[in-house]
Symmetry: C2
Subunit: 314 residues, 2 copies
């Protein structure tokens, strides 16, 4: 049997046929075109699934289940999607709608949760019985895997790790609160602080790397400048790594997972980031002489969305 | 069958014979006398168990299991106790030692976890499939119950909810970190801020209630002054309730339990506290239109330690 995994993003619908070990056998994608509303988007998700399946040489009879990762909240019990903010979806009856096109067992979960599941099936946290996955991108998403299964809480509003508060009365968040982890641990935080640093230190290497245009500063530029030991960028990067460590120490002291996985764009900084986070974390953990979670870099990249979605039905 | 629950504290060893519904049938206690070291303390835990069991009319043959709540970290898999800071216990082979006295199935867990379990068996969170319990005392302890079972994480260092960080670079904590939830949500925080308030506002009602001696300020005095609308005490109390809400919103956005239970000394402030926390929490939750955890007051009081310990073996 095979599984179909659908990674629903604001830009693209990515679909893959995946085997039971989390290996992608064939994949494809088409644009989401959000502005059409949910009906045509869901029809296209089904159409792309059938297309990719056909190309893979399998038929619907070979498909055990279809899973979908969505950029928002999903209710895995009812298949309804209460919120996908950047798709402008509100209370979408996803199961009912999708099953008008393909009638197979259908699973739906938040995209960060799905990516965390992928890493725990065939990625860096494979074999771990519990893990927390952090996507360090424009926002900061979280996925919790306990006993090999995604955990999103009683009302399915959990694993919003970007919105645990690490600085009371701190930076204003898009959610309306202040001091959310996302405001300190996302790529957006690195960019904001990179711009502030360039403002205060106009001769910083950051200015050179962005061609003098602060609007062009991205996470990679700030990290590259820090790699080259630019003092202003190094200060920003160290503060960033320390903020990540503050969030991670809360994760460890709270649910003590076996592994914490760093994914998303910022994690492409690799060991330079990982080493800085681990160094900042070490003196912070509560029980200094007892073992605690390994911190690791995600390894599946963007495919994690397809793989994890497919594995929802495994 | 009955269960024996032992609540090991720094001052007393409390023991109860408990039925399978979490009802105490008979109980007793004796002083811990910590300074003797763990051997004699564990011998006394067994002796008190046999004494209370005898008085209850049951025999060892009626006992299905014995459970123990300890004020520190416990490894439920090996029965070793790596740390009980205020007992000065380090890496105590608890099972081996206790079973020299009574040979019955033996369970051991952190005391806040055990109290949370008690509330979820026969207390305020009975029937909930997941709950987080907070003891608001000298420190701030946490217990996590998922699917009716205590959850302390992969390395058994989790559920240390007093040490999730809610204010980066905030108040210095006894653990060496800054900004831990315990520094804002414990009775100690109310006392500290009550003293600071009296310092700045010598005519505050707090001064009257403590007889002019700041050393006599306790959580009840600060809360009583706030109840009587003393402005300085009200400010301290509101800040306290808001800090609790900040920690609770992190708990909700992280693992989204069905219920959050407030226990420990400060929770005796009752609805005055509960209402203030709920009011502060409401605008902070991430998904404002979706259901989230009920916040409730613990109902079992100090007996939770005995009941929860007994229920570990159920």
């Amino acid at each position: 049997m095979v599984y179909i995994g659908i990674d629903l993003g604001g830009t693209n619908i990515a679909v893959g046929v995946v085997d039971e070990n989390g290996k992608i056998l064939h994949k494809g994608s088409r644009p989401t075109l959000v502005e059409r509303g949910y009906g045509p988007v869901i029809a296209d998700m089904a159409a792309e699934s059938l297309k990719v399946l056909g190309e893979s040489g399998y038929t619907l009879d070979d498909v055990a289940a279809i899973g979908v990762g969505v950029p928002g909240v999903a209710d895995p019990d009812t298949g309804r999607i209460p919120f996908c903010t950047n798709l402008a979806w509100h209370d979408v009856p996803f199961w009912a709608e999708f099953q008008q096109h393909i009638n197979k067992p259908l699973y739906v979960e938040n995209d960060a949760t799905v990516a965390g599941l992928a890493e725990s099936v065939s990625g860096i946290s494979a074999g771990a019985n519990s893990s927390v996955f952090l996507t360090l991108g424009t926002g900061l998403g979280g996925g919790i895997i306990i006993d090999g299964k995604p955990y999103s809480g009683h009302h399915h509003v959990g694993s919003e790790l970007g919105h645990i508060i690490i600085e009371m009365d701190g930076e204003l968040c898009t959610c309306g609160q202040r001091g959310c982890f996302e405001r300190y641990g996302s790529a957006t935080a690195l960019i904001r602080d990179g711009r502030r640093a360039l403002d205060h230190t106009p001769d910083s290497l950051i200015g050179q790397l962005c061609g003098g245009d602060p609007a062009k500063i991205n996470a990679k530029i700030v990290i590259d400048a820090a790699r080259q030991a630019d003092p202003a960028a190094t200060k920003v990067f160290r503060r960033y790594a320390r903020s990540l460590a503050v969030g991670i120490v809360s994760i460890i002291n709270f649910i003590d997972p076996q592994v914490v996985v760093l994914g998303g764009g910022v994690s492409l900084a690799g060991d330079f980031l990982l080493d800085a986070v681990k160094e900042a974390l070490k003196p912070m953990v509560f029980f200094k002489s007892l073992p605690y979670a390994d911190i690791k870099l995600a390894m599946l990249g963007p495919d994690a969305g397809i793989i994890g979605a497919a594995m929802l039905g495994r």
